[in-house]
Every structure is written in C-alpha cells, then in structure tokens.
Symmetry: C2
DNA sequence: TATAATAAAATTGTCGACAATTTTAGATTT
DNA sequence: AAATCTAAAATTGTCGACAATTTTATTATA
C-alpha cells in the first residue's frame, strides 16, 4: 500500500506516522483519549514529541483537542461521513478536471494499463488488491493535477480520514467491479482531455462510494 | 473585520493568532525566515510556545518548514495563486450548493439584507467596506452549509492564505459593483433552493476574482 | 585565487522539571 | 442519602537546558 511514502526524518515525524496509523487502522479506537504521558512511555519518547504529533493529528482532523483537557480520537458519525464525502466530491471532482488539463500522456497511459491489470486480478478473484488499487487510482489523478496544494490537502488530510471510516466500518472490499467501470470511464474522459466530463464522472463515483458506506453505517 | 472570532485560551493560541496576523497583513514579509529564538524574545514566551505556533502555521500552509533547518513564510507565486483559487472554486462552489440545501430562511434573508446595505454604502462611495463585506458574504454561505469540516477548512485555512495574497499585492478594493451583482445572483439562487445554479454562479464568481488578481500579479 | 577541509557559531530537536488547570475522591452540610 | 464544598491527584501548558544538526567562518591545499 505504499505509493506516496512520506519519509520520517525527525522523532516527531515517526511518532506522528505511527500514531496516525494506529488510529486509522483502528488499534486505537474512535473516541479514545490520547494521554500524553501514556503515549510518551509507550513510544519511549519525550512528552514534547508526543504533543507535537498530537498537534499534527489535530490539524488533520483525526483528533479533537480541548485546551487544558486533552485530545480524543474523532468519533465517527453519519454526519461526519456525509460532510467528508461532500468535501471529497468537490475536491476530487476538481482534481479530475485539472488532470484532464495537465496530466502527461505517459501518466495517463500508465494509469490506463494499471486499471487493466487490476481488472485481470479481480477476474481471478484476487479482490484484496481492490482497496490499494482504488487508492492508487485516486492518488494518480490527484498528482496529475499538478496542483501542489491540492495534492498535499488530499493526501495528508482527507484520505486518512476516509480510510479511518472504512476500516472502522469493516469495508475491506465491496463494489469492486462496478468501481472498475467507473474508473475506466473517468480515465477515458481524462485521456480525451474532457475536463468537464471527467469532473462529472468523478463526482458521481464519489457519491456512489459515499452511499455504499452510508448504508453500512446506518446498520450499526 | 470580526465575524468568526476564534478565542485564544492558551499562550500558544495567542502567539499563533498574533504571528498569523503579522504574516497575513504583511508585517512579516513573504519568504522571511521565522527564527524560533528571535520570535520567543519578541513575544516574551518560551521557544516551545513559538514552535507550537509555527507548527500550526505550517498546517495552514502559511509557512513551509524543513527539518533541522527552520520555517519560512510561504513565497507568493502566480502558480500558487492559481492553485489556491482552483481549490477555492471547488470548495466554495460546493458550499453554495449545500447552502441552497441547508441554509435557514432567516439566514438567507439576513444575507440578502446585508447585501442591500452594502450596496447603499458603495453607492455613497464608502468602498472601504468592500473587502470586509465580501469576506462576510462568503463566510455566511460557508456557515450556511452546516458542514462543520468545510467551515473549519475554509475559515482556518484558505481564507487567510487568500487574504495574504491580496494584501501583498495591494488589492484593497477593486471590482466592487460587479462583485455586488454576482453576490446578488448567488443569493437569489440559494433563496430559490437551486443548488446547481448556486454552485455554477459561485464558481464563476471565484474565477473572476482570480483573474482580477492574476492580472495584477502578472504586472510585477 | 579558487576550492576543499575543518572548526566555531548558531539553529533546531528533544528532554525533564515546574506551573496552571482540570479531574477525582473525600469530607461536610442539609 | 443527595448535594455541595474542599483537598489531593492527575493531566496539560510552559519553561530552560542539553543534544543533534546545519550554517558560517577560518584555515589549508591545489
């Protein structure tokens, strides 16, 4: 699952990545209190380092912090999910439009080939490639926008939150083949340099994903 | 200029707000190095407090930081401006759409009246109300979405960056009357609960703003 | 003189301790 | 017994000092 690998140079970085992973992957559960002393002993770093990591998690909307009280892992709600996907729809729709303008031909080809490969795997029943493949698809389009701020915003902020929802709702692999078709159409629009269509298709794609998750969430 | 006043409870908060203001309003210039010791003596707080403030500025994309080297105020470029407005177009377009769905009638009425009042002031030549008025207009629509994540994202992140550009390019008040008409049409679409139109109009409005700034930027 | 290696200075990263605030537990009162 | 006030414990916020890294200044070499 490693495209966009961020490299941890400082101790705070490492702690931040580690903590984020534990939260996003559900080892630290939603709503849990993040005690600074507890985490500093657990990770064997100073409290200052943990504090810095928590601050960064707060900026990513993964934890909420109250002054003089502390930080808690964000609690997942149906409203929160809806809000998040409204934002994704806007940003990734724009991303598809911009990718149609700016993505190099070679990258579009690679993306197209990638989809074909994934389809082969899915046909053979290897559906565990699905999630990583989906993430890769979206990420390549984001990068194709060549909008650095958008890239940062989505890959640092939105995706980890979105994954947190999926993990905690146990959504590891539905909707494989339908998503594949949607992906195909989006790439075709990008290859045709039709930004308007690419945006429309991407927005629909994300709406479908949202509905798919919302159904699961309502059954809890 | 104070709607959405954030309240500073801790010392880090105060330092963050103060530092952000100095940067956004141009007292600390673009590209400037932010020395931790220098700022801690200037503001009479510890280095830890300054560090925390700088971290938060980094999360807002107002400063860039390199490990073991330090933080610098982001440098304004034509590309950066373009990127920022592409994001604004996507997010605020969606905001207008959601406001058409969710904004209470009373709030829409207030917004409409506000525009009329502003128009009166502008007719009398008091154009210095323009910028605050514009900001207020956009902010009310954002809040009208009732999407908390979107509200946070825009009011914490995007607007300060956008203002930074305007200040440093000396854009204190052009495009008053044309913007007024655009605002009027957007509010009308929201009042009609026509989300699709509201989004289209808002996106155009932001495109015009961008072009207006881009022209100035190209003359530097 | 220009370049490279080296040492000194300055800056950021990390740590443990103290201060301020909040939370918990116990005592007091009705 | 329930509610309120008080004191202790625990947690977060802030600070100054030390460690690690980068930058600058100096010296040595081609």
């Amino acid at each position: 699952m490693g495209f966009f690998q961020e490299q941890a140079v400082t101790s705070s970085d490492k702690t931040f990545f580690r903590l984020r992973e534990e939260i996003v992957e559900g080892e630290i559960s939603a709503g849990a209190k993040l005690s600074e002393v507890e985490l500093s002993t657990k990770y064997e770093v100073s409290r200052a380092v943990v504090r810095e990591a928590i601050n960064r998690l707060e900026a990513c909307n993964i934890v909420e912090r109250k002054a003089n009280v502390g930080a808690r892992v964000v609690t997942l709600t149906a409203e929160g999910l809806l809000e998040l996907y409204q934002i994704r729809e806007a940003l990734e729709g724009m991303a598809a439009r911009l990718a149609a303008q700016n993505m190099p031909e070679t990258e579009i080809d690679k993306l197209s080939n990638l989809l074909d490969d994934q389809f082969e795997l899915v046909k053979q029943g290897q559906s565990y490639y699905q999630e990583a493949g989906d993430l890769d698809f979206h990420y390549r389009i984001i990068v194709g926008t060549q909008n650095q701020q958008l890239i940062t915003m989505l890959s640092n902020g939105i995706y980890h939150l979105a994954r947190m929802y999926r993990v905690q709702l146990g959504m590891t692999g539905p909707r494989v083949t339908t998503a594949y078709d949607e992906h195909k159409h989006i790439v075709k629009a990008i290859a045709n340099r039709d930004g308007e269509l690419a945006e429309i298709l991407m927005r629909r794609h994300i709406q479908y994903s949202k509905n798919n998750i919302a159904v699961k969430l309502s059954k809890m």
